[in-house]
Amino acid sequence: MGRQLLILLGGDPNQTESSKLLLDDGDLRTLYESLVLTRVVDQACTDLQQSGELGFYISAMPAAASSAGAAIALEDGDWLFPSYRDLGAYLARGGQLEDLLAQVWGVEGDLVRGRQLPGQGGLPDGRFVPPSGTVGASISQAAGVAHGMQLRQAPNVAMAIFGRGAMDQGSFLTGLATSVRHQAPAIFLCRTRGTERPTALQRAAGLGLETALVDGSDCLAVAQTVATARRRALAGEGPVFIEAVLEPESAERDPARRFRGFVEHRGLWDAQREEDFNRRSESRVLDAIETVRGRPPLSSATMLEDVWAQSPWMLQEQSTRLRGGADD
C-alpha cells in the first residue's frame, strides 16, 4: 500500500477528487455528519466533566477523524475492536445518541449495564466491541475473529484500533504474527505521533504485514486506506497495518473542519446544511442529555448478572445478601 504519508484533505479539492475514492456519496455525508456530531457530544461531555456533573470522561479528540474515518470504511458484518477514544466510530457504526449518553451517565438504557467507564460503551454483532481497560488486549482477539471469518468464509474483516502505547504489549506481537501466519482478513490501525522508534510501521513490516502510513487527522485518507486494506484482505492478500500519525497540532476540537471543503466541493454539503445540521445536532445532544438525566439509575440487582451464562448457587446466595437478606 504505501509508506509515504497519505494526505487527501487540505490541498486542492480537485486533486483529491482525482484519487480513486472507495466511498460513495452516502458514506461521505455520513462521515461528515458523524464528525460534527462527535464534536458536539464530546464538547458537551467534556464541559460537564469540567463542571463536575460527570466524574470521568475521556475526550474523543484528537482521535475522532481517524475513528470515524476508519469505521465508515467498514461494512455490515465487519468487526471493530475500538480503543478508548472512539466515539467517532461508535456514531459512524450506527450507535444511537441516547444509548451512548445513557452509558456515559450510567443510567437505564446503558447497553453495557454500568460495567464500563463513561464513554466506553459497545454495540452488538461486532459493530463496536466495548473497549478493554487494558491496553492492546484486543489486538490478538481481532486476529482471532479474523481467523473465524476465514473459517466461515465470511466476506468480512476484523479491525482493531489502538494507540502507540499498545506496541510493546505481547498482544501486539502475537496478534499481528498470528494474522500473518493465517493471512487473515485483519486490519490494525495504530495511532502514533510519528516520532516513535522503532516506528509502528517498521515493527509491523518486520512481522510481514502490508503497511500504510496516513495522516490521522485526515478522515478521508484514513477511510480510503481502510477501504483499500479491506479489499486487499478480502482478496486473500493478508492483513494490513495502518499507522495513523496524529500531529500535536491535530489535537484541535473540530475534526470536521478539514473535511468540509471536500464535501462542499462534491456538492454534498453547503452553508445552509452546515447551519441546520449544527443547530440540530446541538439540540439533539441537549435533548438526549436531558432524557438520560431523567432516567433511573441502574438497579443494583444487575450487578450480579451476566457473570456466567446462568447464575451459580454462590451468586444466587449473594444476590440475597445484596438485597439485604441473609446469605443463606
Binding site: 460495567r115 478493554s132 475473529v145 446469605d327
Partner: protein, 320 residues
C-alpha cells in the same frame, strides 16, 4: 463402554465433538504435528485439517487472546496449554478479557471456550503447579478438575458445550491410567461424584489427588473408619448440595489437595463448612495439602500428600 486411558478418552471426546459441531476447533503449541505434549490431540490434524487443529507460536497470551476472538465470533475453541505453570503468560487475556467479556459487554459478547491445563506435581519447578485456586477466584470462569478417563470424557463434552469459559484441569499423572468410558456420556459441570460411601467421615478431594484419597479410604476402612470420598469434579461452581449432604451424615471432614495450603481451594471448602455446617461438625476440619513451597523436581514424592498422610488425618479427625 470401553477401557481407555485419560489421554485416549480426551482424544476420542475431542474427535467426536469436532465431528458433531464444526464450530469446535483446537489451538495450541505443537498440537497438530506432535499431537500435543501428552498426545491428547494425536491424529486430529490428519482428520480435521490444520484449519481446525491449529498450531500456534509459543505464546499463551496469544493463544488465549486468539481463542477469545474466535469464541466471540461464535466458534468453540479448545486451547491446550502445555503445563499449568505456563498459563500465567496468558493470565491477562484469561482473567481480564475472557472471564469478563460477558459482564463487561452487558451480555452482548461472551467467550465460550475450553482451556485445557495439564497440572500437578511431575516435571520440574515450572511444570508442577496446581493453580486451581487462582482460577476459582475469578468470576466468570468455570473450573473443572476430572480425576480419571471416565469423568474427563464426560466433563470435556459438557465443557465444550458450555456457554461459559471453562478451565479444564487435567491431572497429568492420570493421562496413562485406564478407566471405563461410556459412549456419549456427559458429566454436568458443577456436580460432584461420591466415589465411596461411608458413615464416619467425609473425605473431600478432586482431580489429581483422588487416587491417594481412595487408597487412604481403603487404609482407614482396615482400621474400621468408613469414609465418604467426595470427588468434587468441578471447583467453580462446586457442588454445595453434595458437600453439605455428606457432612450432615458424617459430621467430620478432611480435605485433600496437592496445591500449597495457604489460600488453596481446600481452604474454601473448610471455610464453607465452618459457615454452613458448624451445627453438624463434631471435629475440626483438617486439610491435607502440598506445602507452601515450590515443587522441586528432586523432592516430588515428599511434596505430594500420600495415602498414609491422608489416612493419619482421617484417623485424627475421626477420633477427635
Amino acid at each position: 463402554m470401553t477401557e481407555l486411558t485419560m489421554a485416549e478418552a480426551l482424544n476420542r471426546t475431542l474427535r467426536e465433538e469436532m465431528a458433531a459441531d464444526d464450530r469446535v476447533l483446537l489451538l495450541g503449541e505443537e498440537i497438530a504435528d506432535l499431537g500435543g505434549i501428552f498426545g491428547v490431540t494425536a491424529g486430529l490434524a490428519e482428520e480435521f485439517g490444520t484449519d481446525r487443529v491449529v498450531d500456534l507460536a509459543i505464546s499463551e497470551g496469544g493463544a488465549i487472546g486468539t481463542a477469545a476472538g474466535l469464541a466471540m465470533y461464535g466458534m468453540r475453541p479448545v486451547v491446550e496449554i502445555q503445563f499449568a505453570d505456563f498459563i500465567w503468560a496468558g493470565a491477562e487475556q484469561l482473567f481480564n478479557e475472557v472471564a469478563r467479556m460477558r459482564y463487561r459487554s452487558g451480555g452482548m459478547y461472551s467467550c465460550p471456550m475450553v482451556v485445557r491445563v495439564p497440572y500437578g506435581v511431575g516435571g520440574g519447578l515450572t511444570q508442577s503447579q496446581s493453580p486451581e485456586a487462582h482460577f476459582a477466584h475469578v468470576p466468570g470462569l468455570i473450573v473443572a478438575a476430572p480425576a480419571d478417563a471416565t469423568d474427563a470424557a464426560g466433563l470435556m463434552r459438557a465443557a465444550i458445550r458450555s456457554d461459559d469459559p471453562v478451565i479444564f484441569l487435567e491431572p497429568k499423572r492420570s493421562y496413562r491410567q485406564p478407566a471405563p468410558v461410556e459412549d456419549d456420556a456427559v458429566v454436568s459441570l458443577g456436580i460432584a461424584r461420591l466415589r465411596r460411601e461411608g458413615a464416619d467421615l467425609t473425605l473431600v478431594t478432586y482431580g489429581s489427588t483422588v487416587p491417594q484419597a481412595m487408597a487412604a479410604a481403603e487404609l482407614s476402612a482396615e482400621k474400621g473408619i468408613q469414609v465418604d470420598v467426595l470427588d468434587l469434579r468441578t471447583l467453580a461452581p462446586f457442588d454445595i448440595g453434595a458437600l453439605l449432604g455428606s457432612i450432615a451424615k458424617t459430621g467430620r471432614a478432611v480435605v485433600v489437595s496437592e496445591a500449597p495450603r495457604c489460600g488453596g481451594f481446600a481452604s474454601e471448602i473448610g471455610a464453607t463448612l465452618a459457615e454452613k455446617a458448624i451445627m453438624h461438625l463434631e471435629a475440626p476440619v483438617e486439610r491435607v495439602t502440598g506445602y507452601d513451597a515450590p515443587v522441586a523436581p528432586a523432592h516430588e514424592n515428599d511434596y505430594l500428600p500420600d495415602a498414609a498422610a491422608i489416612a493419619t488425618a482421617i484417623e485424627r479427625v475421626a477420633n477427635f
